[in-house]
Every structure is written in structure tokens, then in C-alpha cells.
């Protein structure tokens, strides 16, 4: 048998081509990430509202909604309601446009597309909060029916969960749906019944359609996200916490309580898996399989390549193994852990009926219902004088 002296050279050329391909793939992924790194580098002042505004203008488009959500939360907590309103309107437009073909979403489902490259619109509990905050602002503006629409839309975001028993189970959303209906001279009893059936922390009271001062109160630090699994393909939620366990509202000599009705950590963790989790799991399997195949190809190929009679086959096998390793390295099953990380832990509400006049309310956030000392105290001043429009007070124990 004659041996062609050019064959080994051609085979090494093949391996070199594949190695060059791998290098280019690696450079390509680095190109995108360095581009993203450039886009995330803007000056921070330490003030989350100022930094949030800068981030909205400078962040990559895929992260814009994330920064809008964070900034809107800070804005509404600091009383910058018109700014929060404008931001949330844009956020909701983005959320509602998810039915339009989204190339970034499509790419994130591919083997070589990172989930974090998709346009952020939030997990269901995050979308719920965007509608919830916007609903509060509609009520502030004297539009309880549009507020009700937001609360209903928020509840729909929580529908179709893997764990059906926990679908659309926000107490406050159903309660406010019925309350707005009652105030609009409709029958809110079905919504009240749903809210009562879903109640876990506190059972909401019957409606007083004459209540004209509404307190929306939130406290604590909400859930955050992390990833587990061999390739960080499993999205998990870390429950939040709240040092505040009770909210008291003092108006003059009167003392009222704002009960907590919803726990955002419970909502985040009780939905079960996502459809995207299955896609990421498939990607992880593919990554693992091609990695193993690559190892087998490389090792066996290099062994075979030692023998002149099997050198050609060995080099071919090594080339295939190398290609498989490259494909495995390029596969991205990592879960997207971007999170609206300044959400609260608990949502509370109280509705009071007050005669016309000027009032100053002290909202006390305490460690327990019986604790005489408040950890944090906020103050709200308002005037009751328009029977057609409710006074809506939004208070948080956080300002960030």
C-alpha cells in the first residue's frame, strides 16, 4: 500500500480550519458581550432615580423595560407620580406587544442564543406589579374603571400557571376589581368572593362604596432570581423578606390598620415551571451530549492518529470531536436572571370614609401589630373635598 505524504498535511489543515472556526465563534460571542459591556458603562450617582433615568437612556434595548420598571417603582415611592405614569405606560406597551414577532425572543430559544438576550418584559409577578402600579395611578387620576382594567389585566398575567391552583390568585387584584365595580354602582360581589377564597395572609373586609380615602401600602424587599443546574439552566426565585409585619395609619385620634393581602415571594415561587424552562433543559442536554461526543471524538481520534494505518481516520475523528466541542461551548442554556429587584414583599390596602376637610396621616411600619414603636414612619397630607374623586395615598417603607 502506498502512502500519500500529503494526506497528514491535508488533515492538519482541516483541523486548523476547524480551530479557526472555533476561534472566530469565541471572538464573535466576545464581540457581542463587549458591545453590551460598553453599553452598560454609564456614570452612577448612587441615587436610584437619577441612575435609573440614565440607564433607561443608555442601557441596551433588551434591558430598557427592566430599567423602566425599577425607576418607576422608585418614582412612585418618592411621589413623582407623573414620571412613574409615563414610564409605566411605556412598560405596558412593551408587555402588550409581546404577541408581535420578536426576533430577540426567537434567538433566545435557539441553541446558541442566550435567554438574557431577549427583550426583558418580566416574569408574571413582575408584569403583575407593572399593571398594579399603573392601576393605582389611574385611581389617583379619578379613573377607577381604568384602574380596574389594570388590576384585571394584572390578574390575567398570573393565569395559566403550571400549578393551576395558584393561577390568578392575587387577593388584592380581585378585591380592588370588585371595589371599583361597587364604587361604579355595579355588583362587585363575585370579585369579593374570589378575593376572600384566595386570602392567605388576611381576609379582606366587605366593601364600603362610600370609602373615599384609599391607602395602598407596600413593605419589605421582594423576591430575586438566581440560577441552578449544571449549566445554570434552572431559574429559581429567592424569597424576599420584610422587617415590617404591621402597618398602622393614624389620622388625628383615629387608628386604622392596613392589612397585608399579598406576598410577592409566594406569587413568584408558586407558579411552577415555565415553558422556557423546558427549552433551556433541552439546551443543557444538547450541550452535555455534544461535549461528551467531542471528548470521545478527540481522545479516540488522537489515539488512532498515532498509528500510520489509522492516521487519516483518527484525524478525521479528532476534527469531528473538535467541532462537537466547539458547538457545545457555543450552546447557551443559562437562564435569564435579570430581575425587577426593588419590588416589595407585601401588598397592603385600607379604605377609609372621611368627611370633607384637610388631614395629615401618619403611616407607621412596625415589627408586629402590638409593637408600640414604629420602625419607619411616613406622613401624607391630603384634602377631602371632591365627592366625585377618591383620595389615593401610596406609601412604601422603602424609598429605593
Amino acid at each position: 500500500m502506498s502512502t500519500d505524504p500529503n494526506k497528514p498535511r491535508a488533515a492538519w489543515t482541516t483541523i486548523a480550519s476547524i480551530a479557526l472556526t472555533g476561534l472566530l465563534l469565541w471572538l464573535g460571542s466576545g464581540c457581542a458581550s463587549s458591545s453590551s459591556a460598553r453599553q452598560t458603562s454609564w456614570p452612577r450617582t448612587g441615587d436610584p432615580l437619577v441612575d435609573g433615568r440614565t440607564a433607561i437612556s443608555n442601557a441596551p434595548p433588551k434591558d430598557k423595560v427592566l430599567w423602566q420598571c425599577r425607576t418607576a417603582a422608585v418614582a412612585i415611592r418618592r411621589g413623582q407620580v407623573p414620571e412613574a405614569k409615563a414610564i409605566l405606560d411605556d412598560v405596558l406597551l412593551s408587555i402588550e406587544s409581546r404577541f408581535t414577532g420578536d426576533r430577540s425572543a426567537r434567538k433566545s430559544r435557539s441553541y446558541f442564543g442566550d435567554e438574557s438576550k431577549k427583550r426583558f418584559i418580566g416574569e408574571p409577578y413582575e408584569r403583575v406589579m407593572a399593571y398594579f402600579y399603573r392601576g393605582i395611578i389611574y385611581w389617583m387620576d379619578g379613573e377607577p374603571d381604568n384602574a380596574r382594567a389594570c388590576f384585571r389585566n394584572a390578574q390575567v398575567q398570573d393565569a395559566d400557571s403550571e400549578k393551576k391552583e395558584y393561577a390568578s390568585d392575587y387577593v388584592l387584584l380581585d378585591y380592588l376589581d370588585g371595589f371599583a365595580t361597587a364604587k361604579l354602582a355595579g355588583d362587585g360581589s363575585d370579585a369579593l368572593k374570589r378575593a376572600t377564597n384566595s386570602a392567605k395572609l388576611s381576609v379582606p373586609p366587605p366593601y364600603n362604596p362610600k370609602a373615599n380615602v384609599l391607602f395602598f401600602v407596600e413593605m419589605g424587599h421582594g423576591p430575586t432570581k438566581f440560577a441552578t443546574g449544571e449549566y445554570a439552566e434552572e431559574l429559581r426565585f429567592k424569597p424576599g423578606f420584610s422587617e415590617t409585619k404591621a402597618v398602622r395609619i393614624r389620622i388625628g385620634n383615629q387608628l386604622y390598620t392596613a392589612e397585608a393581602y399579598d406576598d410577592l415571594s409566594f406569587q413568584a415561587t408558586s407558579r411552577g415551571g415555565r415553558v422556557m424552562d423546558h427549552i433551556l433543559a433541552n439546551k443543557a442536554v444538547f450541550k452535555s451530549t455534544t461535549d461528551v461526543a467531542g471528548n470521545v471524538g478527540l481522545i479516540s481520534g488522537l489515539v488512532l492518529a498515532q498509528n500510520r494505518s489509522t492516521q487519516e481516520v483518527g484525524l478525521g475523528l479528532a476534527a469531528a470531536g473538535l467541532l462537537s466541542k466547539i458547538v457545545s461551548a457555543a450552546t447557551t442554556p443559562e437562564a435569564d436572571t435579570r430581575a425587577w429587584d426593588n419590588l416589595p414583599q407585601y401588598l397592603s390596602f385600607a379604605a377609609l370614609q372621611l368627611p370633607p376637610g384637610q388631614y395629615t396621616a401618619q403611616i407607621e411600619f412596625a415589627d408586629s401589630p402590638t409593637s408600640p414603636i414604629a420602625r419607619t414612619v411616613r406622613q401624607a397630607t391630603f384634602t377631602v373635598n371632591d365627592p366625585r374623586k377618591d383620595i389615593v395615598v401610596f406609601v412604601s417603607d422603602q424609598l429605593q
Partner: protein, 213 residues
């Protein structure tokens, strides 16, 4: 072609395909429509490329066109002695979509005013504060008047025009479906009779990308 040559050809072909893709895809990696889209003017009744399952402009146009045509065929309007006066009462939103409710009645009013001039007249009740102020100025003599300002000339309503939007939503793993019923009424304020009522219904469904489910 022997296996070595075949392997070499395959690798070279792969490189030739990947390099251009990297060059063109690198800068815009992960960005949808990086060049954006130039602004296009569209007809109000046209469905754009940005669409959801909620209330949109093409729904508004279709519904209000239908209502405007329907109102003109009401006997109380068609056979009225004189010109009936109509006051707009706010539309009630009983759906899950927040939107500018005034726009529905505004469009019905503008359609009637432009296509059926003189058949009906609308009263500008939302401007009453400014109108009463003007009348007070005339009564006090601070401004001139072409008629006796002490005579009550503000017209009363012959009918109220109002409406309601109601919705039903279904959301499952197969997608989201929204049905919206748009109903409008003409109400006689003297008797509370609903002298005219018409409706339109629109149903939409969609399924978002799996990346968002």
C-alpha cells in the same frame, strides 16, 4: 472524493459560511431590527405590525362608524321636529384594557357632525364652566353681548349618548383570547327610555413567543 478531502472541504465550507455570519451578526447580536423601521403613515382602520389582543385604532374606527350610521336611522332622530340635542356621558370601561374612553364618543360625535350636519346637535357640557363665566361677564356688562344675557339660552339635553365596553378573557397554554362587546345607548333623560341601542363585538387571540411563557 476520499474522506480526507471531504473532511477538508466540509471544514472550509463551514468556515466560509460562519465568517460572514459573524461579521454581519456581531455588532447587532441579540438586537431585534437593529436599523429600526422608518415611520410609515397608515390608515386609522388599518391593523399595524404592532398589535395586541386589546382595543386598538382599527376597532375604534369600525365601531364608531357603525354607531354613527345606526344613530341616524333612529326614528326619534330621523323624524324629529327640530334638531335634537345630545349630551355625551362618559363611556364605562368594563374590560381589562385601560384606554382613553373619551375617544369613542368623540369620534361618534365628529362622524355625526361631519356626515349628518344639522340632523343632531351636541351640547358642550364639558365647557360649561367657561360658558357660565362668559355669561357672567356679559351679565355684569364687562363684555358686550349680541343678545340679552339674562335670558337662559343654554339648551337642555333631548338625549344622552353613552356606552359601555365589556370584555371576556381566556388565557391558557394555547394562547390568550379577548372578546370585547362595545355597546352604545341613546337615553331619553325625561323618561329614562333607551330609544336606541347598538353594539359591535370583536374577538382577538394571540400566543406570545415561548421565551415569554
Amino acid at each position: 472524493m476520499n474522506s480526507t478531502l471531504l473532511t477538508q472541504k466540509l471544514a472550509q465550507t463551514a468556515s466560509a459560511l460562519i465568517i460572514p455570519l459573524l461579521i454581519t451578526g456581531c455588532a447587532s447580536s441579540g438586537v431585534s431590527t437593529p436599523k429600526g423601521r422608518t415611520v410609515q403613515e397608515m390608515k386609522a382602520d388599518e391593523r399595524g405590525f404592532v398589535a395586541g389582543t386589546g382595543v386598538e385604532s382599527q376597532d375604534l374606527v369600525a365601531v364608531t362608524d357603525k354607531m354613527a350610521r345606526s344613530i341616524l336611522s333612529v326614528p326619534e332622530i330621523a323624524n324629529a321636529k327640530g334638531v335634537p340635542r345630545i349630551v355625551l356621558e362618559p363611556v364605562v370601561n368594563d374590560t381589562r384594557f385601560a384606554f382613553n374612553k373619551d375617544i369613542f364618543l368623540t369620534r361618534i360625535r365628529t362622524q355625526l357632525n361631519s356626515k349628518a350636519t344639522g340632523k343632531v346637535r351636541f351640547l358642550a357640557r364639558e365647557n360649561m364652566a367657561a360658558l357660565e363665566k362668559e355669561r357672567a361677564l356679559k351679565q355684569s356688562g364687562q363684555v358686550t353681548s349680541n343678545s340679552d344675557p339674562n335670558v337662559v339660552e343654554f339648551k337642555g339635553a333631548d338625549f344622552f349618548l353613552t356606552g359601555k365596553l365589556q370584555g371576556m378573557t381566556t388565557k391558557t397554554s394555547k394562547g390568550t383570547s379577548d372578546y370585547v362587546l362595545y355597546s352604545f345607548q341613546l337615553i331619553d333623560p325625561r323618561t329614562s327610555d333607551i330609544v336606541w341601542e347598538d353594539s359591535a363585538e370583536i374577538k382577538k387571540q394571540g400566543l406570545e413567543d415561548a421565551a415569554y411563557r
